[in-house]
């Protein structure tokens, strides 16, 4: 096989068949807002924990969509529910309700 040299890094493509999306669907049912996120990152940019912890709401939402739940849960545990992300979110997502719901839904094993 000819190596064209394009494979510099291994594929990070996500195989949606490989993880169970039931929890994400449950989250989306309870918090339809989560589907509105456009990953703009305003929330992370305004978060007071930035620079001190790895909390990043944009990432949390992306990670959950990709089934990387443990990482997302760890991040969320740093949140102070201060609500700055709620104020800046251009999509009007009620983050202060979304974040506790994430913990509630994903925590139960």
């Amino acid at each position: 096989m000819i190596d064209f040299g394009y494979g510099i890094s291994p594929s990070s493509a996500i195989n949606l068949d490989k993880f169970d999306r039931t929890r994400f669907e449950e989250l989306a049912r309870e918090e339809p807002d989560v589907l509105k996120c456009m990953a703009c990152g305003s929330c992370a940019a305004s978060c007071p924990t930035a620079g001190h912890s790895d909390m990043n709401l944009r990432k949390v939402i992306l990670l959950l969509g990709r089934g990387r739940e443990d990482e997302a849960l760890r991040m969320v545990s740093h949140c102070m529910l201060c609500g700055k992300c709620l104020i800046v979110c251009p999509r009007g997502i009620n983050t202060r309700h979304l974040i506790p719901s994430v913990t509630k839904i994903y925590q139960k094993k």
Binding site: P48, S77, H78, M80, C82, G83, V88, H97, Q107
Partner: protein
């Protein structure tokens, strides 16, 4: 005046006696239950308060003002106040005077508790005395007062607007039956006493009625049936009492005693909260007050219905209401009973919140910069030598114009200050407390307290009212003065450390919920703003100011609903057509700015712009 019957008894008193016994037993059990459910330290507080003579005087004063005279309603809505106090105070006087009459004329009958209530049935007039006619006059007079109140109450059901209320509570079946009983009790009493006036005597109300009736009725035939009706109505009312809004009549006095003992809400449906929700008179003043009520669909979240649902333990709907509430505190401020609904809702949130493990280990990475750390000195600082620590709070990070302006003013005044969270800091904890998660907030409180203590500051200056409230209420910072910048700037002006010029601009001041109703700061910002421009008031101001809609208190209110509230609040502020809206909260500033047709500025900004 003497006894008409040797037995001093007639069967018609039975309904009353049964009803009265029922309610007394019910109340006794209720009180014991509430006390038993109080946390141990609160119970101790309660018992200690009972042996404190000073508190007795306060309790007595509060009970007379709030339960009998309803002074709080008078202040807001005089006609409504008259309606409530005429029924409550009039009824109370009828009971008291009935006992005095009995005690004066037939003292040995005092031991039966029905006798004073049906006094005029059991006595007959033997001679006219000044004393006797004086009491009869008083009895007729207070009956007239009560009747006027009852008449107004009937009228209120038809036209609540006359009383300055747009909406009034919708009643439920037991409430309605009890209400009709209450309406009927006093007219029936008037009839019964009038028919009896030929035997027992009467005064300016009952005697003419007696003469009137005697023209076409045989009064003696009607004596017993009307007394039966009167007794039955009273009995029915008392039996229904625990299942209706009228339970507030006996509960409110108990609530006052508990409140004055310094007890706070600790569980949404136990102990103190029971006294709170049963004290709700369903007057409905909280409906018009609530900023959410601009939209009809939110009507069901009104505090009065929340209280009602909580009484019935309808947890699901209570939770929904509790999560919606903005915690703006307006319903508490206007409530004539002072039902502390915000704290009940908050504790309900806490009770129902799913456990969420928090990891705040990273707090240890926040530290004070070198320059800010000094060992705390024990010596009292000389005047003007205080060391000020300014904590802007996370919300202010989104409105840097505030912290910049605060810095400008402080520098101009030449005070010695440090900026605690110039590069961001730990949240004050109030948002978590509002969400009912006090446990988690405790970590923030601990870390911040440590940082503040380390700094050696003598004054903690805050610009965000949300922070201000939590620092005042939940932090233990003894020895450090906690002050909001509106108060502090007012002080600087009065001490002459900054001087202001009057630009003549027409300003309106918005009372932020947490600063006004939350911390009762109203006059300082107004005094300063009055010196820099022409200060006008909004339509609703001080403790009736309307939440900006951005409150972190609500957990579920949607973006669109919030916008609705913001628009309504802006309308209210623009009432006197000011040129600029001034607020003293970063969240209000942020919430108003995008929608306001007039410029919105922060208090510090306006001060900084108008300093000489």
């Amino acid at each position: 005046m003497k006894d008409r019957f040797i037995s001093g008894y007639n069967d018609f008193v039975l309904p009353f006696v049964i009803g009265m016994s029922f309610i007394l037993i019910y109340l006794a059990i209720g009180i014991i239950r509430v006390i038993a459910q109080l946390p141990a330290q609160d119970r101790k507080k309660f018992f200690l308060s009972l042996i404190n003579p000073k508190l007795w005087i306060i309790n007595l004063k509060d009970i007379i003002c709030d339960v009998l005279l309803h002074t709080r309603i008078w202040k807001r809505k005089p006609l409504l106040g008259y309606m409530h106090s005429s029924i409550a105070f009039g009824w109370f006087m009828l009971i008291v005077l009935g006992h005095i009459e009995t005690w004066m004329f037939v003292p040995d009958r005092l031991s039966t508790f029905y006798y004073p209530v049906f006094f005029r049935f059991f006595v007959m007039e033997t001679d006219h005395t000044i004393g006797g006619s004086f009491f009869f006059f008083l009895m007729d007079f207070f009956l007239l007062i009560v009747l006027s109140g009852v008449f107004l109450a009937m009228f209120k059901r038809i036209r609540s607007r006359i009383f300055g209320m747009r909406r009034t509570t919708n009643n439920q079946l037991p409430d309605r039956i009890a209400m009709y009983c209450l309406w009927a009790i006093f007219p029936v009493r008037l009839l019964a006493e009038s028919f009896t006036a030929g035997i027992a005597g009467g005064s300016f109300l009952t005697r003419p009625m007696y003469w009137l009736f005697s023209n076409f009725l045989t009064n003696t035939y009607h004596i017993l049936p009307t007394w039966w009706a009167y007794s039955t109505l009273l009995g029915t009312f008392f039996v229904l009492l625990p299942f209706t809004r009228y339970m507030h009549i006996p509960t409110e006095a108990f609530l006052i005693v508990l409140r004055n003992a310094g007890i706070k809400v600790s569980h949404p449906r136990k102990g103190y909260s029971i006294a709170q929700i049963y004290s709700c008179s369903n007057c409905g003043m909280c409906i018009d007050a609530c900023p959410m009520m601009g939209q009809k669909k939110n009507l069901r979240y009104a505090t009065v219905y929340f209280n009602r649902l909580l009484r019935r333990r309808n947890w699901a709907r209570c939770e929904e209401s509790a999560d919606k509430c903005l915690m703006c505190g307006k319903c508490v401020a206007v409530c004539p009973v002072g039902v502390d609904s915000c704290n009940i809702k908050r504790s309900l949130r806490g009770l129902k919140a799913a456990p969420a493990p928090a990891d705040y280990g990273y707090f240890s990475t926040y530290s004070l910069s070198e320059s800010a750390t000094t060992s705390p000195s024990s010596a009292e600082p000389a005047a003007g030598q205080e060391k000020i620590l300014y904590y802007a709070g996370c919300m202010t990070q989104l409105t840097p114009v505030i912290s910049k302006a605060v810095g400008t003013v402080l520098d101009r005044a030449g005070v010695n200050w440090e900026f605690m969270d110039r590069d961001g800091g730990i949240c004050c904890g109030r948002p978590l407390i509002l969400a009912g998660r006090d446990e988690r907030a405790r970590e923030m409180i601990r870390s911040n307290t440590e940082l503040i203590r380390q700094s050696g500051a003598t004054v903690l200056l805050l610009s965000c009212p949300i922070c201000y409230k939590v620092f005042r209420e939940n932090y233990d910072l003894k020895g450090i003065r906690i002050v909001h910048y509106t108060e502090y700037f007012d002080e600087l002006v009065r001490l002459g450390r900054i001087t202001l010029r009057n630009s003549g601009e027409k300003l309106v001041y918005h009372d932020p919920c947490e600063l006004g109703r939350g911390c009762k700061v109203y006059k300082e910002p107004r005094r300063v703003l009055g010196a820099v421009g022409e200060l006008v008031e909004a339509e609703k101001h001080h403790d009736e100011s309307i939440c900006c809609g951005g409150s972190l208190g609500s957990l579920t209110l949607s973006y669109e609903d919030r916008k609705d509230i913001t628009m309504h609040s802006l309308d209210n502020l623009l009432y006197a057509s000011p040129e600029r809206i001034v607020t003293a909260c970063p969240l209000c500033l942020k919430t108003f700015s995008p929608y306001s047709p007039k410029k919105v500025s922060d208090f510090a900004e306006v001060v900084a712009q108008n300093m000489n």
